[in-house]
Symmetry: C2
Subunit: 310 residues, 2 copies
């Protein structure tokens, strides 16, 4: 019986290839843990790594990545459009197979302790791993970002980390360690450079201001391309799937005389989300995953759904 | 090493539940063969069964189904909007894993011989199993349907079956046995009862009249619902995927002041076709199956992509 989790550490470096390679190398080659994906963005100045495998091996991989990040990334010199508090900004653990959310919470807690013990990086626990209600939302933990949090912890005990000294690591900042369900990081690019439009659209779609449930969104500017982007997290794609968000962003953009140029998945997307999108867009009546050949094959025969012939 | 084929026999009965149950029962319980799906339509008066498993077991299942169909279905009393020549109208074999198209051709040929030896049903070979170029296309084999073919074989040697006497089985007709790639049977329902509009749209999209490649289409009337339908076969969804056909049908329908009510998959759809549709409709930039978590997991770890937690 395989025990399988996903872990998606986000590092505050999306431009320097040598640093990103070093992060990946540090997390590679650990028996039982695999680096499934790396996605970097220069404007966000951020790299999202997708790890998967056995819980303990994956946790060790994330910790080794954080160790290298602390050496190579200096938050006092970091700029980027995505909110962040540390060189290793977040480390979320996600149950996949034969692992409970409670076990992922325990793993997050132990990784938070290790971050402090090994690297003197303070840790905040968020989502299912949060130690208090106001830290369930990552936005609250990250309020003020590295620069603001660095000051806040010295004056406000309410902002103190869960593990470690209140004072942040001078260059690596702090890390938010969490346990949560699968999340889809999904960005939609507009054909305008006006970031205020992306911000208006983000406000219209996100849950915190009355939009769609399980949606987080901000408007950011991609200077390299001269375009604005709605940067989205879908925290439960079975509640709000990507295609519904995409349609709403298209409609909202029209109000401002804008159009969607393209969208992109950061990291990986669960297959089910695509199946839902296809069923919706093809107007398939009563579509269900049971209509997919490979699903039915696997269910009926127990035979591995190997890739079908081209 | 699993040897795996798909077989999708089509039977000329879509209304009588007892007959359909008897067909499914005849094909069930054979070691190494599985009934994955059954889809019946009353207007088409046709049932599509999806079998999969080891080649010999699947062939035996299809033959047993044909035997029961010959007993229970009388083509002299059959009506339906879908073209057909026999009680068991078609038996196509599809290579899935570790089976070549040539092996599926050989299987089709032996099943054709068995249809004659066991049940005195003449067989025509089509697609990759065709014995002459003009029989590659199933439409040519089925020209005139049961009623026309029954007469034609008596006068025109060019219409004689590949196996068996020219004279058709008096009630079971003849069966077209083929070998081919995965096919998607895909119907799009319009909000009009005017079948001539569905026919015009079918002409616009199908390859034979200059439309999209690898598309077959006819317009039919669904009397039960009082609506017209474009009934489509996609013979190579990697050339023309369902979402492209769907968009074209939508545009063509607009020309007639019509709209698409819904679409439906008959039988099963390969996962890759849905992934292509989702990538297209979400405007995902450079989307590839490598961005799907389960695919990456399976490739990296060799671990079965079991269903992910809800």
């Amino acid at each position: 019986m395989n025990r399988l989790i996903e872990c998606v550490p986000n590092f505050s470096e999306g431009r320097n290839a040598a640093t990103i390679d070093a992060l990946v190398a540090a997390m590679s080659g650990i028996p039982g843990a695999w680096v499934l994906d790396r996605t970097s963005d220069a404007d966000h100045n951020r790299t999202v790594i997708t790890l998967a495998g056995e819980p303990e091996a994956v946790a060790e991989a994330a910790l080794r990545g954080a160790g290298v990040a602390a050496k190579l990334i200096d938050m006092t010199r970091h700029t980027g459009v995505h909110p962040r508090i540390g060189a290793t900004d977040v480390i979320p653990f996600v149950p996949l197979e034969n692992v409970s959310m409670e076990e992922c919470v325990a793993l997050a807690r132990s990784v938070g302790q290790e971050l402090w013990d090994r690297f003197r990086i303070p840790a905040y626990f968020y989502e299912a791993a949060a130690t208090r209600p106001e830290r369930v939302n990552l936005e609250n933990v990250r309020k003020g970002q590295f620069e603001g949090l660095r000051e806040a912890v010295l004056r406000n005990p309410g902002r103190a980390p869960d593990i470690g000294e209140p004072r942040l690591h001078p260059t690596a900042g702090a890390t938010a360690v969490g346990a949560r369900k699968l999340l889809i990081a999904y960005n939609i690019l507009l054909n305008t450079s006006d970031v205020s439009i992306a911000g208006q659209i983000a406000r219209a779609i996100r849950s915190s201001s009355g939009g769609l449930p399980c949606v987080k969104a901000i408007g950011v500017e991609l200077k390299a391309r001269g375009l604005a982007q709605v940067s989205i997290n879908l925290t439960d794609f079975q509640v709000t799937p990507p295609h519904r968000v995409f349609e709403m962003v298209k409609r909202e953009a029209e109000r401002y005389g804008c159009a969607v140029v393209e969208s992109e998945i950061i990291g990986l997307i669960p297959r089910r989300a695509l199946e839902l999108a296809a069923g919706h867009d093809l107007q398939l009546e009563n579509f269900s995953p049971a209509q997919i050949l490979e699903n039915r094959l696997a269910a009926a025969t127990g035979i591995l759904p190997a890739p079908l012939p081209k």
